[in-house]
Amino acid sequence: MTDHCEPGFRVERIELQDGRAELRFGGQLRFRQCFASWQSVRRLVRPPAAHLAFDLSGVDTLDGAATALLLDLRDEVLAAGSTAEIVGAHGGVRAMLDLYGSHPPRPSLHAPPARIGILDQIGRETLTLVRESRGLDFIGDVVVAVAKAIRAPGFVNWRELPRLMERAGADSLPIVLVINFLVGLVTAFQAAIQLKQFGANIFVADLVGLSVTRELAPLMTAIIVAGRSGAAFSAELGTMRVSEEIDALRTLGLDPYGFLVFPRVITLLLVLPLLTILADVIGIAGGILVAMLGLDITANAYLIETQKAVGLWDVFSGCLKTVFFGLSIALIACQRGLAAGGGAEGVGRATTSAVVTSLFAIVVVDAIFTVLFNAFGL
């Protein structure tokens, strides 16, 4: 006889005649009590008996998980070639065993999916990804919708513009200003360390002015807008799609492109250049602060030098880029949002994808402009 006791339940192995044995359970067989010591219980089935009976006549309570462990132990004994049976169960214990183990297997309503190879699976997933992203469909739909909007400007939901411009523009102003001020400041610091060695302190203004207006302010502003507004657009449209609001729009005879996509595209086309001009100003202000505090250059001298170095084209070229940044961010965000599927997880995926793709697109567009400006000597 081998005993095993735990608070709430006990089990003992009793050797019978003819190689038969019995596991006699007692007390309350609950998962919380028995799972920690189940390995010890499992050891009681060894050495194998010709026939092992699980006697549950002393068990008052049996819960679902404990039933599963018990049935699994019985199946293990059967698989080892012995015979096994559960005996003595009564009342609620019997009912629990019937619920888990005695009913006939219930067939699935649907046929199980056929097993497919890994290459097949990769191919299918790739096709699904291409099909679900609907990138080409989106571009085609946008072109058709642009033609409609040109024919009938009322096609665009203009009333949405002020709200969107407030959210994408005014609301993002503080973060755009803080980031660009710091970028101007850091750039000026880095430049000052080098230029000081050559007594060329005043050229900090040239370096900061040109780098901020041509590159840093447009790029940083676009990155902030992609992370803020691009993500918001994608999440908003994705949620509308999974909650059938896009379908509802269509059944009301409203085009999602005119109603949702174009207002967002127009918003970023207008807002990004405006934010960039303000970012230029605050970036240069960051440079002035460093020049005044660290290089003994007056604000007046710094501004005169900046004026000499930075032309109107430098500011304009930066703003021109942001128009394309805005177009990329808004189109990517809307496309990802409209293609979202699969509930909250799908919206999350669409939002992540929108931000990552937008950032990639911003860098690519920036590189293209840099090459073009260089090629044309601009």
């Binding site: 099909r131 609001e245 509802a248 059944t251 009301l252 005879g253 409203l254």
Partner: protein, 240 residues
């Protein structure tokens, strides 16, 4: 009112239902029934123009589905699908502002009357997030009725509602049908609703991809020899 001929629906290469023929008489309350995954929602999406049929034709009031212009029917989606950033009044206003040349005053009057019709008077300025599930469905019906369509499609109108709210919604559907003569096509699982309001139905089956039963729901319940149909209408006998 609605006619489907040799209609096959699905997604891409995947055919969900094929070669369906049925018609919905004017003034009927007609249900599309079937188990989960049987394709009834796909069929509904094709009927309301959200999915292109793979084959066959759909006619509404004798005309092919129009892709442009004001819709010939109203649709209530399962969740209500109200626009979350708009108040209930703005939701109902949307189709009126788009498809009519009425002035603001006239539109407001119509919107108030539609919301009163569905029992939501006084909730005009509430956002969808501020009202219950049943109220959202009522508001969805008000929006679907904005342009006074003669045909209404309802996707699982009782889903997620308590029995009292569900019965109230059924009453509303019956009222719209009897008072306005509105043809109603609905997809539902709710047996109580089916027997209370539906005059005719079809039952689709995803395995055979066909219509396996059609007619009066009570007659199908009592007389159908098809075990699947009997099990659908008498779930308690299956459990027994």
């Amino acid at each position: 009112m609605v006619e489907a001929e040799h209609l096959s629906v699905g997604y891409g290469d995947s055919v969900v239902l094929e070669n369906l023929d049925f018609s919905v008489p004017r003034g009927d309350v007609f249900a599309i029934l079937g188990g989960s995954g049987s394709g009834k929602s796909t069929l509904l999406r094709a009927l309301i123009g959200l999915e292109e049929p793979l084959r066959g034709t759909i006619r509404i009031a004798g005309e092919a589905l129009a892709r442009e212009g004001p819709p010939a029917y109203g649709v209530l989606f399962q969740s209500g699908a109200l626009f979350g950033s708009m108040t209930l009044a703005e939701n109902v206003t949307l189709p009126l502002a788009k498809w009519t040349t009425l002035d603001r005053h006239a539109i407001d009057a119509i919107v108030r009357s539609k919301l009163r019709l569905v029992g939501l008077e006084g909730f005009e300025n509430h956002l969808p997030a501020e009202i219950s599930g049943g109220m959202k469905k009522r508001a969805g019906i008000a929006r679907a009725l904005a342009l006074d369509p003669s045909l209404l499609f309802l996707d699982e109108p009782s889903a997620g509602l308590d029995p009292v709210t569900s019965a109230e919604l059924d009453d509303l559907i019956v009222t719209l049908n009897t008072s306005l003569g509105m043809t109603t096509v609905l997809v539902t699982h709710e047996l109580r609703s089916i027997f209370a309001i539906v005059k005719h139905c079809i039952m689709v089956d995803g395995r055979t991809r066909t219509i396996i039963a059609r007619g009066d729901p009570a007659a199908l319940r009592d007389q159908s020899a098809d075990p699947q149909v009997r099990a659908f209408f008498n779930p308690q006998s299956r459990a027994a």
